[in-house]
């Protein structure tokens, strides 16, 4: 134990002498100050500042959010009023854009119009419906990607149909007018006209109609 006590005394003595130098004092104070500030910055100042600004940001965000939510509630109330106003007629929208393809309804409708307009329905084809958005094989790669993107972004889906009717010009015109005047949305893609059966006097014409109709995606 004795030699160690001597060393400690020497060490204290040397340290006192060392710290008496003005330059060393200044350095020591500066170094300790920087380390102390850094220490408190990490363990006290930073958490406090972060908490303070975080809370302030939260208050700002929630004030803004509250305002937006209030606007949304007002919009929903207005929408509810509108809905109450048109509630009894909303079935019209379902007829125009059904949630199912309703092929049979479309076929029956075309048949009915043909029958009532005294035109002969010689052909009626419904295209395949792609429920999983697979691209059309006849289109180029660029078209395919565009079609696919558009199809994915749309809320509705479409399918095509082709029909051929044979009748007088007047009846065929009426058929087309009535077809386009159905509640179900139908787009006419192409229309081809040709001479009809000459045996009946040559007054009849053949019309090939290519159309597209729509339904809502689920």
């Amino acid at each position: 134990m004795f030699p160690i006590q001597i060393n400690q005394a020497n060490y204290t003595q040397r340290l006192k002498v060392f710290l008496q130098s003005e330059e060393i004092k200044a350095y020591t104070m500066a170094i300790l100050s920087f380390f102390a500030i850094s220490f408190f910055a990490v363990f006290a100042i930073k958490p406090t500042l972060t908490t303070f600004f975080s809370l302030r940001r939260q208050i700002q965000d929630y004030e803004e959010f509250d305002k937006q939510l209030e606007d949304k509630i007002n919009m929903l109330l207005k929408a509810q009023e509108q809905y109450q106003l048109y509630k009894n007629n909303t079935f019209l929208l379902s007829q125009a854009l059904p949630t199912e393809p309703q092929f049979t309804y479309l076929i029956k409708k075309i048949e009915k119009i043909s029958e009532e307009t005294k035109t002969e329905l010689s052909r009626l084809e419904i295209n395949e419906v792609d429920f999983i958005n697979s691209p059309d094989k006849t289109k180029s790669t660029e078209d395919l990607s565009n079609t696919k993107l558009q199809s994915e972004n749309r809320d509705y889906q479409s399918f095509g149909f082709q029909t051929e009717i044979n009748g007088s010009y007047q009846d065929s015109e009426t058929f087309l007018k009535r077809l386009m005047n159905t509640r179900r949305i139908i787009s006419l893609l192409s229309l081809k006209m040709g001479k009809g059966d000459l045996e009946t006097g040559g007054e009849k014409i053949i019309i090939e109609v290519e159309g597209e109709t729509y339904f809502l995606k689920k």
Binding site: E23, I31, I37, S38, T50, Q58, Q82, Y86, N181, R183
Partner: protein, 62 residues
Amino acid sequence: MKSKDWLILSIITFLTVLSWTVYDVYHTVVTSTITPVDKELVKPISPEFDGGILFNLQQKEE
């Protein structure tokens, strides 16, 4: 290490801690606390409805 080296080290430490604190505070200030789900909830909707559409549809054949 000499006293000067210690001083440089303490200054570098201080500057590092200072920039870390400033960055952390800045990050807190600019980062929104509203989640994307909440943002989706408050997305505005248009309450207007064109009643003329229903009228037009009513005129059409069922």
